[in-house]
Symmetry: C2
């Protein structure tokens, strides 16, 4: 039975996509069978995995929209790397919110579509847009865990409180098994005071300290360069900080 993990934070640019792509790849490197679901219309995880959505390909849009009778297997694409598969996204996904406005059970479209493949993976990692849209709610309705990337910056730390409230509400109203499994500090820059200050705030705050992973993702330009190459950083340059940090995080998550 797969661990179904939503990677979410309404604050933008904190490393959600970087975490889905690179943690997913690091888990596959450790022999886990991983499915990545790109639920962001900006389809950044799809780009980061080097997958080019051509005209014929089915995407997560086809799964959640009402017009199509597409089976989930038709939407799963392989990547260059063993044990790492993807359900790609597409810009059309932005229209799903309006299309589903009057549809009964619209928050469970993803869960209904993916329920039948859960046994085939060890991990399902889902990327979300930086907003609490119907797409993010669909991801929360299906997930059993939420992994929260938190940039070591003041705005990102300030966003945590609201995010915890949101997840508590989802747990009460939509998905009783949903829990926050962890917070991973990202963009850590040991040369700057603000990074240390925010990391200290995370480890001192009683709401967050027990959830904070030991693995910290350092700021590392190889992570962005690897996006350009359409490869996760662990497959782009194993010796980089980005690769080392995401492998550390993968080890910690596998231990559970």
């Amino acid at each position: 039975q797969a661990r179904i993990i939503a990677v979410a934070n309404e604050k933008g640019g904190v490393g959600k996509t970087a975490t889905v792509v690179n943690l997913g790849a690091a888990l596959s490197l450790k022999g886990e069978k991983v499915l990545i679901v790109d639920m962001d219309p900006q389809h950044n995880a799809t780009i980061g995995l080097g997958v080019d959505v051509s005209g014929e390909m089915k995407t997560v849009y086809d799964l959640v929209s009402t017009g199509n009778n597409v089976s989930v297997r038709e939407t799963i694409v392989g990547t260059e790397w063993k044990g790492l598969e993807l359900i790609p996204s597409h810009v059309d996904l932005a229209g799903a919110e309006i299309e589903l406005i009057d549809v009964e059970g619209r928050e469970n479209r993803l869960k209904d579509a993916l329920g039948c493949i859960v046994e085939e993976y060890d991990f399902i990692l889902m990327d979300t847009p930086p907003s609490l849209s119907l797409l993010t709610v669909n991801v929360f309705a299906f997930a059993s865990e939420v992994l929260i990337p938190c940039q070591t910056q003041p705005y990102a730390f300030a966003a945590l409180e609201g995010l915890f409230d949101t997840i508590r509400l989802i747990k009460e109203e939509i998905n009783p098994v949903l829990d926050i499994s962890g917070i991973v500090a990202t963009f850590f820059d040991s040369r700057t005071g603000v990074s240390h200050r925010i990391l200290d705030k995370l480890s001192d705050d009683k709401r967050y300290k027990s959830l904070l992973y030991n693995a910290v993702i350092r700021v590392n330009t190889t992570i962005s360069t690897s996006v350009d190459a359409g490869k996760p950083v662990v497959f782009y340059r194993r010796s980089s900080y980005g690769a080392i940090d995401y492998i550390e995080l993968a080890k910690e998550i596998i231990k559970g």
Copy 2:
């Protein structure tokens, strides 16, 4: 008559708030009278200007929601700096989307509320969340210009095409005077190849080259440190790259 500028980009974390706060401050430093409107429920621009929204204060939420009869003047707060005023945001703003779902003319709530004060400022800068929500549409309906921060990173560059489409649609359907006034490159790091490559792509692409400001915002940790101090970077440390770059941008924007 004020120049009414929306600072927007659906890609998260590209420096929208940093641009609103720091460009706004730099413009006020040059003697312009500036109003900042924080239309993001995460109220980051409010935090960045050191304004603490206490129980009694009226916010932009009071202006757009239906229950309150609040005049715009009640929502305007001064900051520590001359010529720089703010309409703060509040987390309650996230609820406005649902509350306004059946309200006639819901996209023009902000425009209707702020129309009467346009004569009193030289610039009105509006911060937006990283999504195309009703809040962002309200900002686009009121603005006459859109300033787009674009991080010199692959995902941010990829987001431009969709953003241009969105703005074209808003111009056709809601606000015929809306135009993109410029793109400002942000987080530029001269030490990394990816930054140079994306800056080159911006200046070579015929869709973007004529819109690209000469001023480039370099990556600079003083920008985040200044957030911690609740001060725009031009008032926190005038000699920093962040302050120098935003003053350059302000000069270019004043020249129009």
